[in-house]
Symmetry: C2
Subunit: 591 residues, 2 copies
């Protein structure tokens, strides 16, 4: 990623005034994240996309063709970086970037998990090809979710060779996130092998140490896992910071942690130089409502962080951790001319955004007009399922009249309990029971022929609908149908099989809401705002039908997430996450 000799020569000559700059920005209040100062009377000169000069006068770099931009007293910040995020769900990556850029985000460190979990190495390459087209800089992480845990998960895989090859791609920054840290504390051979490959190549590895503490947290750090974005309380954040982790505090769609993590850390006056603010993903509806990194900065300031520190935590800190200190993260010679013009420091209102010196957004809208790539047909029809699912495929036979089921109970949006529930069979089958908020869950195997379906029960979802189906879930992205009757479940499955995946809500044979995710079943090919509207309507439909969650899709998409407590489900079976083993649905059945 370093500059070539020719690029260096051009920059040096431009700095000296021997060649003229493409752009001079003048008249702004420049936010210097290195010294922590806001400096007036500075001019920024740009050549071939990089900053060649910052100082009192760029007149010596001014030529006949040089564009002069007067910032008119606005603040000028380095482009914001989302240091850990995901851009593969709901909308294609390109649409994410189009939306983020208008909020001041000029770079993201993103995993390729969604496409990789479905297509393996091909998915990674597809992701890299997709993001390359967009001016927002995407520094990719090679997935560790392929699979996070081969015992329990059912995703596509990378060979060690593919993993090594992937790390050599210039678009790839590192590897991670290691969600299955429990495997690491047990010295899982394959994990160690991959971490070893990444480290030997000088690549960083993002952690994900939710729930780890003390000796386990030490064990993960000792292996060179250098960051974590999972602290949800101040103690978590502080313990990670102290143990040398670059500590990412999250404010995104999955969780909003800043109030519980950042606020008390500010009060305790600990050093925040190794703290970054990240989203860990934002959904289209949330970005439309709140914003992206501008929102995160605003939120941090509202919680008591100084504007300078908030901006440092989404620019230079992130660049330093990511090994991108010479590329992005500050307004200085050699760095890309990624600049955000802010009307106001406290409110972080983004007026205009430049990437590589080119205008990319203005007044909340991207002005980027490049076209995204066309995905190969196989990528847009990949669920591997014919729309001939029948109701009886969801039947759970049970010879005994009374039996005890191992039921997934939702405790909140992410955490489940394992609940043992006594049920009575009807005509030799156990059924969902709306009156007791007991629904069936079915997960389809999308990778193997034969279409194996794992069946289980879910309590606590609360939505009184016939069925809701989704092919976006962590990190399986398998078709999952949750329902209260088999006919609606079959209908829902067929609706989604028909369009290659997505989200649908069905009641009494009628499709109430639907979003088609033709790209691998994980993302729509529609525009960002269209998808935002569909997601809002789906969430609202589920809430209106009784789901007690702000975002009812969230607990469903976590049902497959085998590293969170307690009971989970993938197409491999029902899973006890803590014990890392597959357990039977019927309690008395031998496992």
């Amino acid at each position: 990623m370093a500059q070539t000799k020719e690029e260096m020569r051009m920059l040096i000559r431009a700095a000296m005034g021997d060649v003229k700059s493409d752009l001079i920005v003048t008249g702004g209040k420049v936010i210097n994240v290195y010294s922590g100062e806001i400096l007036s009377g500075q001019e920024i000169a740009v050549v071939q996309g990089r900053i060649c000069y910052v100082g009192p006068s760029a007149a010596h770099t001014r030529g006949a063709e040089t564009t002069i931009v007067d910032a008119g007293g606005l603040y000028i910040a380095p482009g914001f970086i989302d240091g850990h995020t995901h851009i593969g769900h709901y909308c294609r990556p390109f649409e994410h970037l189009q939306s983020f850029v208008a909020r001041g985000t000029t770079a993201v460190v993103a995993s390729c998990d969604e496409l990789a979990s479905v297509f393996g190495y091909r998915g990674l390459k597809l992701f890299l090809d997709e993001v390359k087209r967009h001016p927002v800089r995407v520094y990719s992480l090679v997935s560790m979710v392929v699979p996070q845990d081969p015992l329990l998960c059912n995703t596509a895989t990378f060979s060690d060779e593919e993993f090594t090859q992937a790390l050599a791609d210039p678009g790839v920054l590192g590897a991670g996130e290691i969600v299955s840290w429990l495997r690491l504390t047990r010295c899982d051979e394959q994990l160690l092998e991959r971490i070893g490959i990444a480290r030997a190549n000088g690549r960083i590895i993002h952690g994900h140490t939710a729930g780890a503490r003390d000796q386990k947290l030490c064990a993960v750090a000792a292996a060179g896992i250098s960051s974590c974005h999972e602290p949800i309380r101040m103690e978590d954040a502080l313990e990670r910071l102290r143990l040398g982790y670059w500590t990412m505090l999250r404010e995104g769609s999955l969780r909003q942690d800043l109030e519980q993590t950042l606020k008390p850390m500010i009060e305790q006056k600990v050093s925040l130089r190794r703290v970054m603010l990240v989203t860990d993903s934002m959904t289209p509806d949330d970005v439309e409502k709140w914003g992206h990194m501008d929102h995160v900065v605003r939120r941090a300031i509202a919680l008591g962080l100084s504007p300078m520190q908030a901006i440092q935590a989404v620019t230079v800190n992130t660049a330093m951790y990511s090994g991108l200190d010479q590329e992005i993260g500050g307004i200085a010679p050699g760095r890309f001319a990624d600049l955000v013009f802010l009307e106001d420091l406290e409110k972080c209102h983004v007026r205009e955004v430049l990437i590589g010196g080119e205008p990319v957004a203005r007044d909340g809208e991207s002005v980027i007009r490049v076209s995204p790539m066309t995905f190969p047909a196989a990528m847009t029809d990949s669920l591997g399922l014919q729309p001939n699912v029948s109701a009886d495929m969801f039947q759970i036979p049970c010879a005994a009249r009374e039996s005890k089921l191992r039921v997934i109970e939702l405790l909140n949006s992410t955490i489940t309990a394992e609940r043992m529930i006594q049920v009575t069979s009807v005509s030799g089958f156990v059924e969902a029971k709306v009156s007791e908020d007991l629904m069936k869950v079915a997960v389809f195997d999308r990778h193997k022929t034969g279409g194996k379906i794992t069946l289980g029960f879910l309590k606590g979802f609360g939505a009184k609908v016939g069925a809701v189906g989704l092919s976006v879930n962590l990190d399986e992205n398998a078709l999952m149908i949750v329902g209260s009757n088999d006919a609606d479940m079959a209908c829902c499955a067929n609706v989604l099989a028909e369009c290659g995946g997505g989200i649908a809500v069905v009641n009494r044979g009628e499709v109430l809401e639907k979003a088609e995710f033709r790209l691998a079943g994980v993302a729509s090919l529609e525009p960002w705002k269209t998808v935002a509207g569909r997601l809002r309507r789906i969430q609202s439909c589920l809430r209106e039908n009784g789901a007690p969650f702000d975002k009812p899709l969230s607990p469903l998409s976590f049902l497959t997430f085998v590293t969170l407590p307690t009971l989970r489900i993938t197409s491999r079976g029902l899973i006890n996450a803590k014990e890392r083993r597959i357990v039977p649905l019927f309690v008395d059945e031998p496992s």
Copy 2:
């Protein structure tokens, strides 16, 4: 440098208590440079030289063979790092490390300039071999002084191939320092080529931008030169910090800059996260008198820096800049167990030092007993000069009775002026004139056969001695004789030729003081304290004879330094540094 899979496995197992640690340190006040806190009630466990656990109790890692060290309430800091230094002059590198370690220094980033300037690539390898033997971690920089400026300097050289090969050595961290930044602002092809090689290999490049500002400073930064240790005033420091340079503030033997740089920066409350404290070299006599990094920390605290920030500026900041964040710089899992036990935080009094968990120093003395390597004979007799130098070799013939000389005038310890002085020839020769403090300077070519001698004149040295000779100078390390009469100059040259180089003071045929630097003419093979004593006596002898400098050897060793103003001398000739050209001794002579 990253850990192997086996090392990671061992660390993880030790963190979990599955294998037992070698060492547990308990009862200290642990200085956490990541969070900026001082934490009591923490235990540090170590296995195979690295920290595997830090936390409330390491009992689970304790086995029958585990050594327990009770810190007895002392502060425990991460080992100090000197982020930019030189360890090749006066004493061999090994002796430097022996001396530094007792002052809390457990790692240095050091150039191999001295041996490389004499022996080229062979000198670099020799340096790497030498430092490998000592427990202090030496992260080497590949010289850019071979030569800094091929027009003006006369040193050994590296081919591009050797340069590339050197960068691949695991002992090598990066390249630098680029003293001849003027060449860089002029896009010197070879410099760009080497910077390009270093950057493409992900290596850092240390700068040296003394005197550069505004557009020139931007040009150097734009080429990816990421640090500078040359700020001597706050404005210099602040300008570099703002331009994205990792800013090294120096307190060493060459210069003591902290009062002029750090103090006002503290007062101005700028962000110091990208500031490092470095020595840029310390001589044996100074280390004996002041200390090493402990001294630098003390000095910074005395100038108003908080002890935490001072320690951060010699540990984690340096590690982060140097790409060593996972290796050193903090007390956290995965890092080497390099620990400094301090009695007092303000005074930074070092009680004990561990490297890789092993005791290496106690109460100001190294307890390391490994033997240094034996240098090949060619390295200890390398001046390439027979001791048959005669007085007439220093004669400067001049046919005209009156003529005008271009004289090097010392303005202070480092900076010279070009002074035109009218002289009268005596019997066809121009001579030194003690009454006017006008001495001759002779520089011998040590690289080419034939023993070319460049002659010039020096004003302002002040020492009324027959001759002083030295083969340590920047970065030529050529034999230089400064004298007031040709006979003593010849005697001095012969004394040094006899022992392969060093420093000698001669008066009326008598050797007043002498230090033999058998290693390449740049370093003694004697113990540190012996050399410290000799240096003290030499400096004192010159002062007693009238030299108006605290350290009279210093201005002499800078006479060859072609990148400082104004007039310099190497075996290539008299040099106008600013114009980068060789100029004649006689003003009227065509250049």
